[in-house]
């Protein structure tokens, strides 16, 4: 190479804390490169595939769902291609994939065009998710390629995931804002922020027995089953919508317990397959600086910080064997886009050690 302008990247900046990112994460690398943004990557139960959402097609400015073959790198879209989609999840054994989509909304193509025109005008707006009430849950059957619709309720139905045995689906719905007469207060609330009405629901894998599990005012969302299906973990926002925490409950909706208490936005919980701890993301260190943390399943101890890189680190998902961690970040060139999926080797032993050494929750001042 001629002359010296040469190039190399540096790992995340270390800090004066007891731990650094390299204690927990090694061989960190970016998994997705194409398109404006990618995220919400979830592994197939055998760990050989990942399903994720990405904005990467010229004629659609919204997320579509893709399956990435982790053995040969091939990617294919499994969602219809038009409309908005989000939050896909593999079913145990069948390989069926569950996701939310608005493709049956007759206006969906017009909305795409409107957004593309807006972008072409050179204007930028802050990224936001609009909780489209046309969003319904669908299952993609890989063999037939058919889509089966599971929900039919007006109001955002999304953020769905299967129980480990594939028999149950837990999801978020805002149907409560539409099926009844709202008070004046509620109408105002709906106009300002429909997510206020989001609650956790459960149903059978075929869409039957749809049952509401939460009733607290404010956004309840992002539910997942834990490793053995005995509990559901999710995030609960306060009524004001400024603070969120990780909660856990029985699949019946009983025994709701708060796991984290950072007084910031703590969300995107996902259980490690060992059953010993829960990953989540929080902005306790700065409004736009989300970092990954782990907390013991009962929330008895102070959470342990895992990432130490400025910007966004969120949506953590371990591989089914628990040896690797995938998450969404805008580090290392993810910044020029709206975030991309990264993957690293996960040091479970170090995580256990750090959790054990952590003081009891509330025994230290919040930083």
């Amino acid at each position: 190479m001629r002359n010296v302008l040469v190039f190399l990247l540096l790992a995340g900046t270390a800090s004066a804390q007891t731990y650094s990112e390299s204690d927990f994460l090694s061989r960190t690398r970016r998994l997705t490169f194409e398109g404006r943004r990618a995220g919400e990557g979830y592994f197939s139960p055998d760990g050989k595939q990942m399903v994720f959402q990405s904005e990467r097609e010229a004629d659609n400015p919204f997320y579509q769902i893709y399956v990435l073959d982790l053995l040969n790198g091939d990617t294919r879209r499994i969602s219809p291609g038009h409309g908005k989609t989000t939050c896909a999840f593999f079913q145990h054994e069948t390989g069926n994939i569950l996701f939310g989509s608005t493709h049956n909304d007759p206006r969906s193509k017009d909305l795409q065009k409107k957004e593309l025109d807006f972008r072409a005008s050179g204007k930028e707006r802050r990224y936001s998710w609009d909780y489209d009430p046309e969003m319904e849950l669908y299952v993609h059957h890989p063999d037939s390629g058919e889509l089966e619709q599971l929900t039919h309720a007006f109001g955002y139905d999304a953020e769905a995931s299967y129980s480990p045995d594939g028999q149950w689906v837990v999801f978020t719905s805002m149907r409560d804002a539409y099926g009844r007469k709202l008070s004046r207060e509620e109408e105002k609330q709906l106009e300002q922020d429909p997510s206020f009405f989001a609650e956790i629901y459960i149903m059978r894998y075929d869409g039957s027995q749809q049952t509401r599990l939460t009733y607290a005012p404010g956004y309840d969302g992002g539910p997942f089953f834990n490793y053995d299906g005995t509990r559901i973990i999710w995030r609960r926002f306060t009524e004001r919508g400024d603070i969120a925490d990780v909660w856990s409950m029985l699949p019946s909706g009983a025994d709701q317990r708060q796991v984290t208490d950072f007084k910031s936005m703590s969300w995107a919980p996902y259980a490690h397959p060992s059953g010993d701890y829960i990953f989540f993301a929080s902005n306790k260190l700065g409004f736009t600086n989300f970092e990954l943390f782990i907390v013991d399943t009962e929330g008895m101890k102070e959470p342990v910080r895992v990432t130490y890189t400025d910007g966004f680190d969120g949506l953590p998902v371990p591989t089914p064997d628990g040896d690797r961690l995938s998450w969404t970040s805008n580090r290392d060139g993810g910044a020029s886009t709206g975030g991309q999926i990264f993957i690293a080797d996960w040091n479970h032993d170090k995580a256990m050690e750090a959790l054990q050494a952590s003081p009891a929750r509330g025994s230290t001042e919040n930083e």
Binding site: M1, R2, V6, L9, R27, L31, F33, G73, D74
Partner: protein, 596 residues
């Protein structure tokens, strides 16, 4: 996962360690003493070319269509010597060691009166800055005398602007555009290397400045100033050094001079080596022999480092620069890719180009593009490998990916099974051969594994190469090339705008700091790949891996900031450097020396 994606991915590859032996053997051969450092035009380079040709034959690769030889020659300027330039003022002849032609000078004679034009700098009006050394001067058909560099006492901010217009070539062009016939350059008494001649550094675009130009010693300049009644050269420079735009130049009274520049440019012949695989027979449908994916690497290096860009320390100067990483590693990668692609399905041809003259300024690839031996429209894409043998921490840098939207997609697909920590950057204006192909509007990408403290030194040796990872780089390259060779359409070329922040011209940077920068688009600061032994940076305690955040009071967020800061530091004046090491912020003092 111990048994997961990573190891599964490896099982689908060919036996990794066996092919690592291949790349080791290529690197060891090319970096050996026998190849003499592979300087373009030398016997060592011819031996390297012969080795590559024999490897191409062994792999069943053919010369390009219509050619019988893998070697594609090109001519280049191999040296410039001053063969007796002279300068006569009235009846006084400057001594032989009082002047030297500038490498880009026209050969010939210029006679006329002499005008002192200060630093000879004109900042274009578009910069809205207002600095013109020629303001109020009439220089048509005259000889212009200017100071080298730029005003010494100006603020850093002002210097950072002026530095961009202070290169010798820029000053020559400026004088010519104003109608001057000749240019004299003197290193002012208040500048580093005061009174010394400028080196006869030739570059590839050496000829054609359109003006007779020479540098003169302080002694010769003083002789001219004998005719100026009210000031010496030193006083004149002092008046200019604040960069006050109202201090102008003046005519040197009562003097007629004749400048004669005699230069001899030697021409040499270099050889690119190029061959190709046609499309596979079984994919006749949609196949096109006329479309080529081109994979390339330069095979030349610095010989014994006697010209230009060697960074050898005093104790190793003149030794053979084996260039194991730069760029035996790239050649090994391309040969290993050819090996992997042998017999594979492909819809278009795949060509393999091994360039010479890269170290002298991208000569071989530039000549190849200009020759149209393969028209650039026939090229689906160009994939370059330059310094890919020193991978650390699994980091692979892919540059120039802004040249097509095919790159993010193919990089994602290719990297999933190979698993590098891939860093991308869009900028295709790089000091390597992709620049030649980007200019020809070919979607291009460059593979790179980072700089190091053996860069451009005799110690860039084969035993320091990371062969296992070099072979993984080749595997990645083969997968990527295979995907490119099976595309139905040529990827769309995207023109990346050149950064307006380009640093000062090279010959205006005169402070030597001994830093070897690594750089990255997304790191805030300037990462050091190494420091030069015995240099000011080493003396200041800086080392590879340090991240410079502040330099001479200027915040450093990228390589351009750093180049600017370098432009304006003063030789011999200590400057503060703030840097990060292992997460700690540290401070040191560095004293730059004069660059020779």
């Amino acid at each position: 996962m111990r048994h997961g994606i990573w190891s599964l991915a490896l099982t689908v590859s060919l036996s990794a360690s066996l092919s690592a032996q291949d790349v080791r053997s290529h690197v060891t051969t090319l970096a050996s003493e026998a190849m003499g450092g592979r300087l373009t035009g030398t016997e060592g380079a011819a031996k390297a070319a012969a080795y590559i040709v024999s490897e191409l034959k062994r792999l069943g690769i053919s010369p390009l269509p219509g050619r019988s030889d893998f070697r594609v020659p090109f001519e280049f300027t191999s040296g410039v010597t001053d063969t007796g330039s002279s300068f006569r003022v009235g009846d006084w002849d400057a001594p032989d060691d009082g002047l030297r032609g500038l490498a880009f000078s026209e050969v010939g004679e210029a006679s006329g009166s002499i005008v002192f034009a200060g630093y000879g700098i004109t900042v274009p009006e578009s910069q809205d800055f207002g600095y013109d050394s020629y303001f109020g001067l009439e220089v048509e058909d005259k000889i212009v005398l200017v100071l080298r560099y730029f005003p010494e006492d100006a603020s850093q901010e002002v210097k950072s602007v002026l530095a961009r217009y202070s290169g010798l070539r820029y000053k020559a062009r400026n004088a010519r555009e104003r109608g001057a016939k000749g240019l004299l350059v003197v290193t002012g008494p208040r500048s580093p290397s005061a009174g010394e001649l400028a080196a006869l550094n030739f570059d590839t675009a050496a000829a054609g400045s359109g003006i007779v130009a020479a540098s003169i010693t302080g002694l010769v300049a003083d002789k001219l100033f004998e005719n100026v009644s009210d000031k010496t050269l030193e006083q004149a420079q002092h008046d200019l050094d604040s960069a006050n735009p109202h201090v102008g130049g003046f005519d040197i009274p009562d003097v007629t001079a004749t400048l004669t520049v005699k230069l001899e440019r030697e021409t040499g012949t270099g050889f690119n080596v190029v061959g190709y695989f046609p499309p596979s027979a079984s994919t006749a449908e949609g196949a096109s022999e006329d479309r080529f994916v081109l994979v390339g690497a330069h095979y030349d290096h610095l010989g014994e480092g006697k010209q230009g860009s060697s960074l050898a320390g005093a104790d190793e100067a003149g030794q053979i620069h084996g260039g194991a990483d730069d760029n035996a590693s790239g050649v090994a990668a391309v040969l290993a890719i050819a090996e992997r692609l042998k017999g594979r399905e492909r819809k278009s041809s795949v060509a393999f180009g091994f360039w010479s003259g890269e170290e002298m300024g991208l000569l071989g690839s530039g000549a190849f593009v200009a020759s149209k031996v393969l028209a650039s429209e026939a090229l689906t894409a160009y994939v370059n490998f330059d310094m890919v043998g020193r991978m650390r921490d699994n980091k692979l840098v892919l540059q120039a990916v802004g040249t097509s939207d095919v790159w993010p997609r193919l990089i994602e697909q290719t990297n999933v099974p190979v698993g590098f920590d891939v860093q991308t950057s869009e900028d295709p204006y790089l000091p390597t051969d992709v620049t030649s192909f980007n200019q020809a509007e070919v979607p291009s990408v460059n593979f790179f594994t980072g700089s190091h403290s053996e860069y451009h030194k005799p110690s860039d040796r084969a035993e320091l190469i990371n062969y296992e990872d070099l072979d993984r780089v080749a595997r990645f390259g083969a997968l990527l090339t295979e995907k490119l060779s099976n595309l139905d359409e040529r990827p769309v070329f995207i023109k990346v705008a050149r950064s307006s922040q380009a640093g000062g011209s090279r010959d205006s940077v005169r402070a030597f700091t001994g830093t070897i920068p690594d750089y990255a688009s997304d790191v805030e600061g300037l990462l050091l790949g190494g420091v030069i032994e015995g240099g000011p940076a080493e003396e200041a305690g800086l080392a590879a891996g340090d991240l410079i955040k502040e330099f001479a009071g200027q915040a450093i967020t990228n390589i351009y900031d750093y180049t600017y800061a370098l432009d304006v530091v003063k030789v011999g004046e200590p400057i503060d450097v703030v840097y990060e090491r292992d997460g700690e912020t540290l401070k040191t003092t560095l004293t730059p020396r004069a660059r020779k």
